[in-house]
Each structure stands twice: as C-alpha cells, then as structure tokens.
Symmetry: C2
Subunit: 212 residues, 2 copies
C-alpha cells in the first residue's frame, strides 16, 4: 500500500498522527465507516485535501460509502511505523523528563521507554515509572548493549548539542528535542524540535484576534 | 500595519511563532537585514510563501535589500499580541505543571504566570517557581479578583472538561490543553490542544522512511 517513491510533503506527514488519533477515537466509539466529508469536518481539513493526502499512500480504496475506519487506522499506524516497536531513552530526569516518562500515550502508540539518564547524583538510582535513572556517564555503554531508536532530550540548553551528538554517534536515529536550541543533523537523523511556547504564542494571537 | 479584515489561514498563523523565533535568533546574532530568500532557507518555506504570509499583515515593506530584522521581529511580536502582557494560570501541579511553571521561554515571550492550582493537599501550599500552589477550590475566587487570559491545563484526562468549563465560565479566553482529550469551545474561546505524542509519531515515520 505504501508508495515510498513519491516524496510526501512535510505538511502531509504532520497530518498523519492527527488522522491516526481521530481514527482511534472513532474506533473507540465503535464507528466502522466514515466518509471523507465527515472526516474532513472532524479534522478541519477539506475532503479533497484528505483524498489528496491519502493518495500519497495509495488512496486506501475509499468506496462510495466511505473509508473502513479499522483498516485506515491500521494502515496509517503501519505507515507511521508504530508497529516497529521503536525504543526510546529520556535524557534529563527533571520535571519534564519525569512527566514524559509517565506519559502513557507514548506507550499506547507503541513506543517503549528503555532508559532514563541524568547527571545529578541525587537523581541517579531513583526510580521513575519503574525504571532506575542511570548516570549519563554510562550512556555509551548502555547504547552499545541496547537498541535505542529515539532519544528524548530534556536537558538544559547548554548541554543539548553535546548530548545529541553522543546519541547520534551511538546510532540513535531520531531525536525529540525540548530545549529551545534548534538541532540539525544530516538527513539520516530525524529531529523533532518541540517548542511549547509556539502554542502559547498562537493562543495569544487567537485571543487578540477574537477580541477585535 | 495589521489588517484584520482579511481572515488569516490557520497554517499562516502557525508559522508566525516560528518567524518570531528565527528573527529573535538573528537579532541575537546582531543581524540587521535578511532577504526573503535567506529567511526561506532558515524557515524551510519558499521565499514566495514568506511574501504571501507577510502580505496578510501588510507586507512589512520589504525593499530590494531585504527585511529589517528588528522591525519585522517587533511587528510580528505585536501581531502575536506578545506585548499585551497576557497572564496565565497552571491547573495541575504535577511533573508537567512544574516543568511548565519553570519554562523560562514563556516569561521571555511576555506571558506572566500568576497562579498554580492543584487538588492534592500535599502539594497545596508548596512553592513552585516562587508561586504558592493554591487549592483548586479557590479557583473561582482567584479568577474573580485577578485577570487571567490563559489557562494551562495539565490535569488528568478525566478532569479536563470540567476544569476547562470552570475557567471559561470565569472569563478565561484561551486554553492550552495537554490532556489527550480534545477540547472544543465556541469561537470566543481559543484552544490549543498539545499532543506530545504527535511529534513522536512523526519521528517514527521519518526514521522508517530514512531506513528505506
């Protein structure tokens, strides 16, 4: 079904997790079929955009009576690689690292947290979500013995570039970066820079616009 | 300069915080002018898209020699409403709430945290980032005495709808929602639902695609 010859635009890729979430909600409500029109209302995207998006992946064979929700959910999950059992480590066991370690949606989506690292002797050895925090000094050893796909970085800004490079050197292929610093690597390393303040700025704009 | 007659598409609004961040970085590097071409490389958006985006707000008078960085930064900040001194409260003083309370980018962007609320007697009265955690029971009283623009919700999923409604009833105009539940209010209430697992799913897709 997937068609890796066609380069999928970033904006389409970014909609895939949203499709996946909405379809999961429909499944929870025991809804078996949905038209692209109904999906478009829920997603706030035009129906024609949805069809265009899906065409990058073969179209999912919509019939006159709509998409099969379960099939679509499972296909999009497959395209997203959620069945690959990607493993993650969290670097930085501060408040944000702790919050992410116990963020149960990560696990529900098929990601397995296998290690948490910090440099604070007071935190090393304590347990978060059933995982003992390891010393950052043992990072390379751990990565040589365990396959880790994604590094989640919640370290202070000053440490983020060095930490990211250590992970990449040991073969980590994806980085989720919460520091304000924008990370950039070669094409083989995927990076998602999460800017929580962007959402707050967007809210500020909407509030201001609503007032006018 | 702003032109509120034209409805700005959501995708353009969502790029404004990114422009603002990039321009801030340029300012930090003491760069005074930038062409739309150079900005487009940094933003990973075409130069023509940048010009189209800016045209929604009057175009910012680009000359042959490019945009004035400081002017553009200040105009976009103004459009985003970052000079309005928006106030925030955090509901839920768990790990994520604590992490957000000490997220210094929020303050740097002009947002002022004025209150933190929780329902756990062991947490109420403790201090986070210099603010005493208040009982959720005193939320309405606090909101009647203090102007609060934005509520940041880090409560458990089961509590999020009720908590959001309490905030909205007291006049809060914007909600940043970290629970998996998608909040929807009338147009007068702006909502940003933050889905951290979307970034992780996007990473998974990129890793999978890089491998092929």
């Amino acid at each position: 079904m997937s068609d890796n010859e066609k380069k999928v635009p970033a904006v389409v890729v970014r909609r895939l997790p949203r499709y996946y979430r909405y379809l999961g909600e429909l499944l929870n409500q025991d809804i078996k079929r949905i038209s692209s029109n109904a999906l478009s209302v829920k997603m706030n995207v035009t129906a024609s955009q949805i069809r265009q998006d899906f065409n990058y992946f073969g179209g999912f064979g919509q019939q006159g009576y709509g998409y099969n929700v379960e099939y679509l959910y499972s296909e999009i999950g497959e395209i997203l690689g959620l069945n690959d059992g990607d493993t993650t480590v969290i670097i930085g066991a501060g408040n944000l690292g702790r919050a992410l370690a116990s963020h149960d949606t990560f696990e529900k989506r098929g990601f397995k947290l296998v290690g948490i690292f910090d440099n604070d002797p007071n935190i090393i050895g304590t347990s978060i979500s059933g995982i003992d925090v390891m010393s950052i000094d043992s990072l390379e050893e751990f990565l040589s013995e365990n396959r880790v796909d994604i590094g989640i970085l919640t370290v202070p800004k000053a440490a983020v570039v060095e930490t990211a490079e250590r992970l990449v050197k040991c073969g980590v292929k994806g980085l989720m970066n919460f520091s304000y610093t924008e990370l950039n690597f070669d094409k083989e390393v995927a990076v998602e820079n999460v800017h929580l303040s962007d959402s707050l700025m967007t809210l500020s704009y909407k509030i201001k616009t609503n007032k006018n």
